[in-house]
Every structure is written in structure tokens, then in C-alpha cells.
Symmetry: C2
Subunit: 160 residues, 2 copies
């Protein structure tokens, strides 16, 4: 079965479903406030993508495109996506939902960067991600991992 | 007893002691490689600060100063420290080591920013840190918390 990844719309149903995910935090609270204060409209596009099982959201991730002028990871410098909050609800793990989300992100045509939580490196390695050379000024408390499409390599740190 | 916070020097003893901390990662591996490759000298200063119990390192944190021109958190914009990898070894927790490290950082005369792991918000609240208004373009996957010295307030997001 091909799993279908959809862009999640900001509405009360989505925001309620988000509460089931462990990494619920101020990003979600901020979306809720923006909706309540009419700063964004009901059913606005969100930075979240997810997979439904029936009408239940069972997996999600957040994606944000960083423009080439801020790219300190890839050579040649280019637009890339930062992927975070990749999470599959416990009862639905090990069924390919996480992989389907990552494959979707890989299909966007840009390199990817993520900052894996401790102990999830194995998953990211299986997905073809690799560690970058750590650069304290750039990475600070992150241990970033990146995915390179064909023809893209790591950007060489330049502190000049 | 006043706990003494010291800047940790990069040497094989320190790097070996770091392995006892859960958040050991590519930052530490990179320091080890730089030492092995003679890119840095033995006993160079590191971005880590710690507390010894006898000659055993039992608590540590990493600090990095971000210059005012990159400040998107504080008003007026100013140099600030990012604090990460604050960790106390299990047998030494609840004895004030974490607080002593944070108080040391507060004494550096700048605001502080940290990106707490899930479930440690209560600790950071007790230390006087607060959540910022989430700004996706700036914070992405972080849920940053900040500490304001007297006279400093939150920077108002400006996407113009």
C-alpha cells in the first residue's frame, strides 16, 4: 500500500490531533493562538505534513525551506528544507510511515537537514542521512544530519 | 559549600570524562579529532564549563557567545550566550550543581538563550528562564527559552 502524505491544514481538528504527539510544543501552541486570534484563517496551510490512517493522523513532520543565501551546509549553496518533528504514533511505528514521510521530503528536489534526537541516528542513517563536520559557530547545540541529492556535497566551513 | 565552576581544558582526560554524559555527540568527537590532528593544542580552552567533585567531573554545560549583529532574541540587540549540554551525572543530581552552572552563566553579564529538551521546562522556569514567542523562521524545530537581565526585553519579530 502506498502511503499518502498530505499537507496538514491548520484547523481545530488538526491542532487537537497534534496533542497526541510527544513533541507538541510552542510551535503548535503558536499556531493555535494565531487561529484563535484570526491571524491565520481556518484551513490555512501549515508547515506540517502527515499521513492519515482512516481519518486519524498517525504520523507527521514539519518542513521549512531555507533560502540559498542562508545555506551554510551544501555545496553549491542552494535552497534546502529543514525537517523536524518527524514522529509516528506508537501503535503505528515500524510500518513504514516514517520512511514514507522522509521519502516525500527527499522528493522535493532539494537537500535536507535535520537535527536528530539522541538515539535516532540509526534511523536517519538508514534513510541515507549523514553527519556533517561539526562547526560550533554554525551548529552550536545541534548534531545536524543532512541528505545530499545527486551532485550536492558538503559545504566547506569558511570562517574568513 | 560554594560550588566552583571552571572552564574545561581540552585534553584526553576531559574528553574521556565527557563520555560519561548522555549528550556526548559530534561536538565532543570533533574536539577529540582536533586534538589528535594537532589542530588545537593540548589544554586549549573549550566552550565547556564544569564542576569537579574531587577530581571527577560531575556537571557541565557548553556556552557560546553570539554577537549583537546576529541577535534576533533580545531588545536592545546585544551579545548573548547560548547555553547547551547542561547536564549533571545521575548520582550528583538534586544537589545544586545544575543551578550553580546556570548562576555562573547569568553572571557573565549578557542575556542567555537555551533550547531545553522536552520535560526540562520546569527546571528552566525555576532558573528564571521563559519561553519566547515562537517565530518559525527564526526558531524552526527549537522551543527556545531565554533569560533577561535587568533592562532587557524580548525582541519584537520583524519580517519586513
Amino acid at each position: 500500500m502506498k502511503l499518502k502524505v498530505v499537507n496538514l491544514l491548520v484547523n481545530y481538528k488538526t491542532l487537537e490531533e497534534f496533542k497526541l504527539f510527544k513533541e507538541y510544543g510552542i510551535q503548535e501552541l503558536s499556531m493555535l493562538e494565531d487561529l484563535q486570534d484570526n491571524i491565520i484563517e481556518d484551513d490555512s496551510e501549515s508547515p506540517f505534513y502527515g499521513i492519515y490512517f482512516g481519518d486519524k493522523l498517525v504520523a507527521r513532520m514539519s518542513l521549512y525551506k531555507v533560502s540559498a543565501k542562508y545555506d551554510r551546509y551544501f555545496d553549491p549553496p542552494q535552497d534546502y528544507y529543514v525537517l523536524w518533528k518527524l514522529e509516528v504514533l506508537p501503535a503505528y511505528q515500524k510500518k513504514g510511515y516514517g520512511r514514507a514521510l522522509v521519502e516525500f521530503a527527499k522528493g522535493l528536489g532539494t537537500p535536507l537537514k535535520t537535527n536528530p534526537r539522541i538515539l535516532s541516528h540509526e534511523f536517519w542513517n538508514k534513510m541515507g542521512f549523514q553527519n556533517v563536520s561539526y562547526d560550533m559557530e554554525r551548529d552550536l547545540g545541534e548534531n545536524p544530519m543532512v541528505w545530499f541529492p545527486e551532485g550536492v556535497k558538503e559545504q566547506h566551513a569558511d570562517h574568513s
